[in-house]
Amino acid sequence: MKKKILTTIKLFLILTLLVGIIYPLFISAISMLFFSHQADGSMISLDGKIVGSKLIGQKFTSGKYFWSRPSAIDYNPFPSGASNLAPTSAKLKQLYVNRKENFAKSNFIKNSSLIPNEMLFASGSGVDPHITPASAFLQVDRICNSRNFNTTQKEELIKLITRIIENPQIGFFGESRINVLMLNMELDKIK
């Protein structure tokens, strides 16, 4: 019995060394060599200062920027989280109605049924970095208005959105989408 327990503990420690230390460190080493940008969180800098991660969505409330999706954690992933509200939740229904009204009003949208679902429902992670292209186009009028863009600038903005669309990976994996942070950084460059 005593010998058995000793064997177990010894084996347990050896396996811990193997898959708990050597294996993760091996992955870290390879990552550092070949994919250090991704391994460190795909951070993005502006004028030498980190302004966020390409993969982690941010909160935008100003009229001058494209808005991200609603978030149950207000885009502060410490920890990440979702609403977990039921499809029969009265609270969710109220949030939905308010968001719809607010988004339609702020973006001068007459027919609110045009608003894609992802702008009216909170994401799973609370930091979804993407919106659909349709949601981006719906925000163009508001942004041009806030920034006093002329027609050429507006055309430039529409071209920018089209250019920045990420299509399904390898042709069919996933959805067409737009990274809101990347779009807003490019938007700031339109003069």
Binding site: K4, T7, T8, K10, L11, F12, L15, T16, L18, V19, G20, Y23, I27, S28, I30, S31, Q38, A39, D40, G41, S42, M43, I50, G52, S53, L55, I56, Q58, K59, N76, P77, F78, S80, G81, A82, S83, N84, L85, A86, P87, T88, S89, L92, N117, E118, F121, S123, G124, S125, G126, D128, H130, P168, Q169, I170, F172, F173, G174, E175, R177
Partner: protein, 564 residues
């Protein structure tokens, strides 16, 4: 309307599985048997070094009692050590966020959860556990709990193919080989692919940044990729971050989403063919695979239909609550179906916000006993119990002595099979009832009405099925839930493993009688239908009343536009 490119993804997923499982399954049998294989030059020496340093005699043969005892002692050692390092994480290294020690009942719950391959999480990884605990504690259990499942499957298989023997193999050897030759190499390759797509693998502290518009944001990091690879391949499912594979650092692109989904089912599906190879019958394996695939696809059809139907409260379909834009609707339900069919439990969308029938499918998949591919190893040994029951019932119907693969099935096997099938079900129903009748159980609810009931039913199904996913509105980090769920997970794991091993120990002693005209064939579609019948009758009879009070009722009320 279901977009065309989404349908293509589902088709690729299913066809990919049908092609990969038989090919890889055959190869697994080679990896685990000790035959010379492609990895022997790399790991052969490591393997013998492990045995030597631990004082293990790899040629020792174990009978069922010895084998079971080794499993239990190894698992409980794991629980104790994992609990301890959580309790003292503040004095251990690799804790750049200076996270404090974990509360006792939470630590015990988490330890049981990872050792039993459940990966139920009452905590949020990024705010509760240090890199040390995640890497040296949890990642290790991600490997060895999966390897233990494979070991039990191998032992049960030896019970079926050995003629009048006694030995079921050597647990230590099965454990080490499964880890070394199968799980480690696959995880290493997969982890590197994940990093290349954006999954983080870092030891630095969290980044505090000011966003483009000037808000403060804390971005959590960690050695995530190495853990996420085995989380999927080993049907563990425990996220490095709180929102699991919905979190972009855990599942950044549609490609990682597809690969993670595929790796959830890859090993459980392949092991069916490993089993086929070991018993010397490909046909038997195809019939089992067929039964599993049918149930998976049926569940997927119901979930998809439900998600794309109009919700009469919101007057729209395809609700995006709890879902990610890059992943979309169909990939969310494909995942929710796969992760609950396999006892994985990782999520890429919040199950609590799925449409009621998609939530029902997720729950029912777990309640069937985690045998639709199921956990690594555990899915197939669970399915073999259902096969024994089916053989027995069919035998009674045609008046023959029930046999499976030439071994006579007696009252002993059936008694233990029934125990293994009923124990987890009892936990689900009894513990749910208890939670519903106590303040401690009800005060954790986030949603009211039938959905609140579903939160509790889902939680105990997840525990007893060793799945780990949740209707996560439920606040499970209370003393009541930590302890009840802990007990549930232990019963769900060892309440099945011990009966399986007892059956293996009894079967191994029996002679193999050659098939005659009177033998009930177990490798044709008639048997597949009988097996499907038994699985659904047991699952439906046990859970139909409870499911009616939860997701079914919610579905009907939703159709009438009623909210809670």
């Amino acid at each position: 309307m279901i977009p065309f490119n989404e349908i293509i993804q589902v088709v690729i997923f299913i066809i990919g599985l049908i092609i990969a499982a038989p090919l890889f399954g055959g190869y697994i049998s080679k990896l685990l048997s000790g035959e010379k294989n492609i990895l022997t030059p790399v790991f052969g020496k490591v393997e013998s070094l492990i045995y030597k340093s631990a004082g293990i005699n790899p040629s020792e043969e174990m009978d069922w009692k010895k084998y079971t005892f080794s499993i239990l002692i190894f698992s409980f050692t794991g629980i104790i050590l994992l609990t301890v390092i959580q309790l003292i994480q503040s004095i251990l290294p690799l804790n750049p966020q200076k996270l404090s020690n974990v509360e006792f009942t939470l630590a015990v719950n988490t330890a049981i959860s990872f050792v039993t391959n459940t990966n139920w999480q009452s905590y949020a990884g990024e705010t509760s556990l240090s890199y040390f605990v995640q890497m040296i504690g949890l990642t290790v259990q991600n490997f060895v709990s999966a390897a233990t499942g494979i070991a039990v499957l191998l032992a049960l298989t030896r019970g079926l193919v050995t003629r009048q023997g006694n030995s079921l193999g050597n647990f230590w050897v099965d454990l080490v080989r499964s880890t070394l030759y199968l799980l480690v190499p696959l995880s290493a390759i997969f982890a590197i692919v994940l990093v290349s797509q954006g999954v983080v693998q870092s030891f630095s502290s969290y980044k505090e940044i000011t966003t483009l518009e000037g808000y403060k944001q804390i971005i959590p990091l960690g050695p995530a990729a190495s853990q996420i690879a085995i989380k999927q391949l080993g049907t563990n499912g425990g996220g490095f971050f709180n929102t699991n594979s919905a979190f972009p650092f855990e599942n950044p692109t549609p490609l990682t989403n597809f690969l993670q989904m595929f790796s959830i089912l890859l090993i459980p599906a392949s092991l069916v063919f490993t089993f086929g190879k070991l018993i010397g019958s490909k046909k038997q394996a195809w019939i089992i695979f067929f039964v599993m695939m049918i149930v998976l696809v049926l569940g997927l059809i119901v979930s998809t239909y439900s998600e794309y139907s109009t919700n009469n409260i919101f007057h729209t379909s395809g609700l995006m609550e709890g879902k990610e834009t890059r992943i979309g609707i169909l990939n969310s339900v494909l995942w929710s179906t796969a992760t609950t069919a396999a006892s994985n439990g990782s999520v890429n969308a919040m199950h609590s916000s799925l449409s009621p029938l998609a939530g029902l499918v997720a729950m029912f998949n777990i309640q069937l006993g985690e045998i639709i591919f199921g956990g690594v190893g555990s899915g197939l040994y669970g399915m073999l119990l259902f096969i024994l029951i089916t053989v027995f019932i069919s035998g009674l119907m045609i008046g023959r002595t029930p046999e499976y693969l030439g071994k006579k099935i007696d009252a002993f096997e059936i008694k233990w099979a029934i125990v293994a099938i009923l124990l987890p079900n009892t936990v689900i129903l009894l513990f749910s009832a208890l939670a519903l009748r106590t303040n401690a159980g009800l005060s954790s609810l986030a949603n009211s009405g039938p959905h609140g009931f579903s939160e509790i039913l889902y939680a105990f199904s997840s525990a007893a099925g060793n799945n780990g996913s949740a209707f996560a509105g439920l606040n499970a980090n209370t003393v009541f839930y930590n302890l009840m769920m802990g007990v549930g997970m232990l019963i769900g794991r060892f309440g099945v493993i011990i009966p399986c091993m007892a059956i293996a120990g009894n079967l191994v002693k029996k002679n193999i009688t050659p098939a005659s005209k009177g033998t009930l064939q177990t490798d044709n579609f008639l048997f597949a239908l009988l097996l499907l019948g038994v699985i659904f009758i047991v699952g439906a009879l046990t859970f139909f009343p409870a499911l009616s009070l939860g997701p079914l009722l919610e579905h009907l009320l939703m159709n009438n536009g009623i909210t809670f």
